[in-house]
């Protein structure tokens, strides 16, 4: 257990490294403590810069480092693991009073888009059932558990940022970790592809038939033979990519 005075001195130093406010730091040598702040801030800045290189490029170094500085100063990080800190930047920017969100409406989405690569890469390994090639629609299906489905409003993935706000829409994206290589992949889906995979995850039977019927009927779309065949062909493609399997 730390002495109360030591703990207090540590808290003051920690507060100084975050805010730059040296008030009350009577025990420290004021000509030297800026080095502590510089060291800690550089770590923060570098971690965020590595996690969000696209954001850094879009905002430019000056704005990005201002964002890092404001985040470090104003946000009380909760995570004890430093690699999870970038996720907290998203929470900070998502705050309803965030000037950054008001200035750059795409920012929360862009940060999330970049963060999910880290999150999926670091998902905890779980024991998987025996997985098979899709060659029958009678077997239940299994979606690669290391994935996230998101719908972007801005076309971050295929348009220059100057066109993001003028091309608002729905851009469903699947982000998944390859089971063999462990690399994170991105896949742009059609809306129905997105709905099918979402339904497949929540459908208790995980059967092709009920999933397809539920997906299409929810959108008031009739099922045709051609659709059945094309959706099966699409699922086989996803199977080859390691996204959906038979179990």
């Amino acid at each position: 257990m730390l002495k109360e005075t030591t703990s207090l001195a540590q808290q003051k130093l920690a507060n100084y490294t975050r805010t730059g406010d040296s008030t009350g730091l009577t025990e420290a040598r004021l000509e030297r403590i800026p080095q502590y702040r510089r060291l800690v801030y550089n770590v923060i800045k570098d971690i965020l810069g590595q996690a969000f290189p696209i954001t850094k490029k879009i905002l430019g170094n000056e704005d990005f480092f201002n964002l890092c500085n404001d985040f470090f100063k104003e946000h009380n990080c909760k995570n004890t693991q430093v690699w999870k800190m970038p996720k907290e930047l998203i929470d900070y920017v998502n705050d309803e009073n965030s000037a950054y969100k008001l200035a750059h409406t795409f920012l929360p989405e862009l940060l999330l888009f970049e963060w999910l690569e880290i999150e999926i890469h670091t998902m905890t390994n779980i024991e998987l059932p025996k997985l098979y090639k899709i060659d029958s629609i009678a077997q239940p299906y299994f979606v690669n558990p290391y994935h996230k489905l998101i719908v972007l409003q801005h076309p971050l993935h295929n348009k220059p940022f100057k066109q993001w706000n003028t091309n608002l829409g729905q851009y469903p994206i699947l982000i998944y970790r390859n089971l063999r290589t462990h690399k994170v992949h991105f896949e742009e889906l059609s809306i129905f592809g997105y709905l099918f995979l979402s339904e497949l995850q929540s459908n208790s039977t995980r059967l092709f038939e009920s999933t397809l019927v539920n997906t299409l009927s929810a959108q008031n779309v009739a099922i045709t033979d051609a659709q059945i065949l094309s959706s099966l062909a699409w699922l086989k493609e996803l199977n080859k990519k390691g996204i959906v399997f038979s179990v």
Partner: protein, 129 residues
């Protein structure tokens, strides 16, 4: 087996249609599509490329590159490589970034792979190692 299930599926569709749950019988055939955007590193590189400033013949950077000093090709290449691949690796501490050590860091980053994750260093003692 598959045919039997497909027939059953078509029957389900007909049943839903009969119940009036399907309002629009006409529909496009290829509703289910997907496009591979590549791995995280590939997509990042593409997006960064999309957002590069358009080159201009009057661009000062271009003019600067032609003289013997300032930004030589080596340095520019290293910067580019870092932008595309450096997500991975370990965050560096605040010291020792100039000269030799910086070069060593970049080399290390390149060999660490493509993923953004990985361990980040604390502010002390790990730089240049």
């Amino acid at each position: 087996m598959e045919n039997k299930n497909l027939k059953s599926l078509a029957a389900s569709a007909l049943a839903l249609g009969a119940l009036g749950l399907i309002a629009n019988p006409a529909s496009a055939e290829n509703l289910f599509t997907s496009t591979d955007l590549g791995t995280g590193a590939e997509l990042r590189s593409d997006v960064l490329g999309l957002n590069d400033a358009a080159p201009s013949i009057f661009n000062n950077t271009d003019i600067e590159l032609k003289c013997g000093e300032g930004k030589c090709g080596e340095e520019k290449k290293a910067e580019g490589e870092q932008a595309e691949e450096s997500k991975t690796g370990e965050s560096k501490c605040g010291e020792g970034k100039c000269g030799e050590e910086k070069k060593a860091e970049k080399k290390a980053e390149k060999t660490e792979g493509e993923s953004k994750s990985g361990e980040h260093k604390c502010g002390e003692g790990k730089c240049g190692m």
